[in-house]
C-alpha cells in the first residue's frame, strides 16, 4: 500500500517551487537542536535509508557473507563481466519500462485532454473505469491479464508484459496530466481556434507545450513503476522475458548474491543523477514560460 503513497510524490515536482514559500513559515522554525520535529526527521531518515546503507556497504565486502572481512571491488567486477543473465534481465526491464511508459504517457495524456475538454455522456464512467487498474489489487490485475492473454491466444512474453505495464501505468498518467489541466485555461484554446488553428494544431501547439512538465513527470513515474513491478509481471511473463525483479526473486533458492548489492548502488546513483537533471530541466522550463 505504501507503494501508492511514494508514487504520488512526483506531483510536487510539477508545481514550480519558488512561489510557495510564504515568509510566515520562518516564524515557526524550531531553533532548538533536538526538537520534536527534528528527532522525528532524523528517525524517519534513518529508518528509510539504513537498509540502503547496509546494502551499499556490503557491496564492497571482500567475502560473500554478512561478515565484514575487508574492502573489495570483486562484486562490481563480477557484475560487469560475469553476469550475463542479470544484464539480460536488466535489458528486458529497461525495454519494457521505456516502451510502456511512452505509450502510457501518450494514451493517458490524450485521455486526460479528452476528458477535460469535451463534455459527453460516458465521461464520468470512462474516468472511473480508467482508475480501476490503480485501485484493484495487483494480483487480480495479473491473473485477469493472464487469463485474457491465453483466451485471445496472445503468446506470453515481452509483448504481453508491455501491454500489462501500459495498462497499469495509464491511470497514473491520467491523474497527473488531468491535475495539470485543472490549472489550464481552456479559453486559450478557444482563442487559438478563433485565430484559425485547427483542432490538431490546438493540441500540438497550445495544449501539449503547456503540459510538458506533467508529461515528463508522469513518464518518469511510469518508468519507475514499470521497473519495479513484480506481481503483474510474474503472471504475464513468458519465455525469454525475465525482468530484473523476477530474476532477483528467483535467486532466493541459493541466496541472493552480493552482485545484487553492487547493482543496487549503481541503480541508486543512476536514478539520483536522473532526478537531479530532471529537476534542473523542470526549473528551466518553469523559468522560460
Amino acid at each position: 500500500m505504501n507503494r501508492k503513497k511514494t508514487k504520488l510524490k512526483p506531483t510536487t515536482l510539477v508545481t514550480p517551487p519558488r512561489e510557495v514559500s510564504p515568509p510566515r513559515q520562518q516564524l515557526f522554525k524550531d531553533h532548538r537542536r533536538l526538537g520534536f520535529s527534528n528527532t522525528v526527521l532524523v528517525l524517519v531518515i534513518l529508518f528509510l535509508f539504513m537498509p540502503l546503507f547496509v546494502v551499499i556497504t556490503y557491496s564492497f565486502n571482500a567475502s560473500k557473507g554478512m561478515r565484514w572481512t575487508g574492502f573489495s571491488l570483486q562484486w562490481y567486477y563480477k557484475l560487469l563481466f560475469e553476469s550475463r543473465q542479470l544484464w539480460k534481465a536488466f535489458l528486458n526491464s529497461f525495454i519494457i519500462a521505456i516502451t510502456s511508459s511512452l505509450v502510457a504517457t501518450f494514451l493517458g495524456a490524450l485521455a486526460a485532454v479528452g476528458i477535460k475538454w469535451y463534455r459527453f455522456k460516458a465521461r464520468s464512467y470512462i474516468q472511473i473505469i480508467s482508475f480501476l487498474p490503480m485501485i484493484l489489487p495487483e494480483v487480480i490485475i495479473g491473473i485477469s491479464m493472464l487469463i485474457f492473454f491465453s483466451a485471445v491466444k496472445i503468446p506470453l512474453g515481452m509483448f504481453s508484459i508491455f501491454v500489462a505495464h501500459t495498462t497499469f501505468n495509464l491511470p497514473f498518467v491520467l491523474l497527473l496530466v488531468s491535475a495539470r489541466l485543472d490549472e489550464f485555461d481552456f479559453s486559450i484554446i478557444e482563442a487559438a481556434r478563433d485565430l484559425g488553428a485547427t483542432e490538431r494544431q490546438g493540441l500540438t501547439k497550445v495544449i501539449i507545450p503547456s503540459i510538458v512538465p506533467a508529461l515528463l513527470s508522469s513518464m518518469l513515474m511510469a518508468i519507475t513503476m514499470s521497473l519495479e513491478d513484480f506481481v503483474i509481471t510474474f503472471f504475464v511473463a513468458g519465455p525469454g522475458s525475465t525482468t530484473l525483479p523476477l530474476y532477483v526473486y528467483s535467486m532466493i533458492r541459493y541466496g541472493v548474491s552480493p552482485v545484487v548489492n553492487a547493482l543496487s548502488l549503481i541503480l541508486v546513483l543512476a536514478i539520483m543523477v536522473m532526478a537531479l537533471t530532471f529537476r534542473r530541466f523542470l526549473k528551466t522550463i518553469a523559468a522560460s514560460s
Binding site: 491465453s150 525469454g240 535467486m251 541459493y254 541466496g255
Partner: protein, 342 residues
C-alpha cells in the same frame, strides 16, 4: 522529434523481434544458477544454438506458469512430485530416447526411486540430493549426528529448520522409522508431537531464505538446509568450520529432472541439450560448481575435480518426496498447527 521517433521505432522493433524469428533458439525454464553459465556457453558454441533462460523460485511458480498457458519453453526442470503431476496432467511431450545416447550414464538406482517414470519416457533425472544438517564445529563441541540434534537443549534458540513442510515433517517421520510419504494419521500425530514438543521449542524459526546467512555469521549454530546454499555463504577458507551431514536415520530427498513441456518450439534442440548435459565431462563441471556428489550420472564422478559436500552413499535410506494428491491437505493442516500454534 525525428530522432525520438526513430529511437521509438527501434525500441518497438526490438520488443517484437522476439516473436518473429524462431531459428535456433532454445528456451530453458530453470532454477536460478542451477545450470552453470559456462556449460550454457559451451553448448551454444558447440551447436550454434542461442540459449535463453528464464527462472523460477519454486515448483509451484513454474507449474502455475505452464498451467496458465505459457508456451515456448523447450526444457523445464521440475522436481519429482511435479514431474508426476505434469505426466498425469498430460503437460509433457514424450522423449525420443534414440536422440539421447548419454542416457546410459543415468544410475539405475535413481531410476528405481523415480517410480512415476522408471524408463525415462517423459523425464531425464538432472540431480538427486537431500537436505541435511550443518553444524558450526568451532562453536559446538559435542553433538549427536542425527535429527535428535534439534532436541538438544544446549543449542536452545541457536538453530533453525527449513520453512518447508515436506522437509520438516519428513525428517520427523523418518526419525521415528516411518515413510516420509506417510499418510497414516497415527504416524503423523507422532511426528507432530516430536516436532512441537522436542524440536520447535529449541528453534529460532523456520526459515528457508535467510538461515544460511545467519549460520555464516555465527548467529545460528546448527541449521537444517541444503549444502550448496550453506557453503555458498561461506568463503572457502572457512569450509572446515562446518560439519555437514545427512543423518543416518534417513529423510526426504528430491530429484530434479529435465522434461520437454507441450508447446515447446525447438524439440530437436531440447534433446540435444539434455544429451549434452549428461556428457560425463560436462556433467562433472556442474557437480564441481556445487560440490554435489555424482548421484545421477555416476560416470561423471570420475571427471570431478572437487570433493563433494556429502557422499552418494549417505543418500541411502533417503526417500523421494512423492506427490501426495488429496492427502496434501492433511500435511497443510499439520504444518499450520506447527507454524502458527504455540
Amino acid at each position: 522529434m525525428k530522432k525520438v521517433s526513430l529511437l521509438l521505432t527501434l525500441l518497438f522493433l526490438f520488443l517484437f523481434s522476439g516473436c518473429t524469428k524462431e531459428e535456433k533458439v532454445l528456451h530453458l525454464y530453470n532454477w536460478t544458477y542451477y545450470t552453470p553459465e559456462n556449460i550454457i556457453e559451451q553448448f551454444e558454441e558447440l551447436y550454434g544454438i542461442k540459449v535463453v533462460i528464464d527462472y523460477f523460485a519454486s515448483n509451484e511458480d513454474m507449474f502455475a506458469k505452464l498451467k496458465g498457458g505459457a508456451k515456448g519453453y523447450d526444457v523445464v526442470f521440475p522436481s519429482q512430485d511435479y514431474v508426476e503431476i505434469m505426466i498425469n496432467e498430460k503437460m509433457l511431450l514424450p522423449l525420443d530416447k534414440e536422440k539421447i545416447p548419454n542416457l546410459k550414464y543415468i544410475s539405475p538406482i535413481v531410476l528405481e526411486k523415480a517410480t512415476y517414470d522408471t524408463d525415462m519416457s517423459w523425464s531425464v533425472p538432472y540431480y538427486m540430493g537431500a537436505a541435511g544438517i550443518a553444524v558450526n564445529r568451532k562453536k559446538v563441541a559435542s553433538y549427536s549426528r542425527d535429527w535428535s540434534l534439534f532436541s538438544d537443549k544446549r543449542l536452545d534458540h541457536r538453530m533453525s529448520m527449513l520453512d518447508d513442510m515436506r522437509e520438516v515433517i519428513g525428517d520427523a517421520l523418518a526419525y521415528l522409522g516411518y515413510s516420509v510419504n506417510s499418510t497414516d494419521p497415527k504416524e503423523l500425530e507422532a511426528a507432530l508431537n516430536l516436532i512441537n514438543k522436542e524440536w520447535k521449542p529449541n528453534l529460532v524459526k523456520f526459515d528457508a531464505e535467510g538461515f544460511a546467512k545467519s549460520f555464516a555469521s555465527g548467529e545460528f549454530l546448527a541449521v537444517q538446509g541444503y549444502a550448496e546454499a550453506i557453503y555458498e555463504e561461506l568463503d572457502e577458507n572457512r569450509w572446515d568450520e562446518v560439519d555437514f551431514f545427512l543423518p543416518k536415520s534417513g529423510g526426504p530427498m528430491y530429484l530434479d529432472s529435465m522434461v520437454i513441456p507441450k508447446g515447446a518450439n525447438n524439440i530437436e534442440a531440447a534433446h540435444l541439450f539434455i544429451n549434452f548435459i549428461h556428457t560425463p565431462e560436462i556433467y562433472a563441471q556442474f557437480l564441481d560448481r556445487f560440490h554435489f556428489p555424482a548421484s545421477v550420472n555416476t560416470e561423471a564422478g570420475k571427471y570431478m575435480k572437487s570433493t563433494p559436500f556429502y557422499r552418494v552413499e549417505e543418500l541411502e535410506g533417503y526417500e523421494l518426496k512423492m506427490n501426495l494428491g488429496a492427502d496434501l491437505a492433511l500435511y497443510n493442516s499439520l504444518w499450520e498447527s506447527i507454524r502458527y500454534n504455540d
